[in-house]
């Protein structure tokens, strides 16, 4: 197996993970600001919900980071 394919695979995992997390956090943060501007009295509840959603949002990209580091430092290294 060509070692360059391993680096390409790791970079695809990291890149797509970063892209998806960026889009997700952008939408989440935008909606949080919008909802807080509409109903400021609910800001604390909205922050709690946004925080829980942030934890769910970055679960898969975090596992992807672990797999990519494994590919780079163990499989290719």
């Amino acid at each position: 197996m060509d070692i360059s394919m391993v680096y390409i695979a790791a970079s695809i995992i990291l890149g797509l993970g970063a892209l998806a997390t960026g889009i997700g956090f952008g939408l989440l943060g935008g909606k949080l600001l919008e909802a807080t501007a509409r109903q400021p009295e609910l800001s604390n509840q909205l922050q709690v919900k946004a925080f829980i959603m942030a934890g769910l949002l970055d679960a898969v990209p975090m596992i992807g980071v672990g797999l990519a580091m494994y590919l780079i430092f163990v499989v290719a290294g």
Partner: protein
Amino acid sequence: MKARQSRITHVPLARWLIIEFISLGIISLIWLLHSVLAGYSAFIGGLIFIVPNAWFVHRVYRYQGARSAHLMVASMFRAESIKIALTAVFFAAVFTLIEPVHVPALLFTFAVMVLAGGVIRWLVRPQPWR
């Protein structure tokens, strides 16, 4: 002018950490039945999740309240970036500096802790100060 940092919501960070360390201990003990190498690898995998996540929680709840909404969102974005960067650095450090390491135990425990972390935050939610 720096925004006032008010504490409106009580964040149960200590309770989350205790539950996470108990879960990590149980998973590490199960892997310890396989071998000592798998046991400590599983413990390291859990720590790789817990330490950046504790940083994330600490930074996200730095600002609270509707007046600090923009600071709250900016702090969340910054904390998430640093969390992912810290996770990548910790994985790189473990794979290069610690020899030998049981990779399936490390990655499996990390993945389980990531999923368990979401469930713990869902079950033990931050509450408003009474």
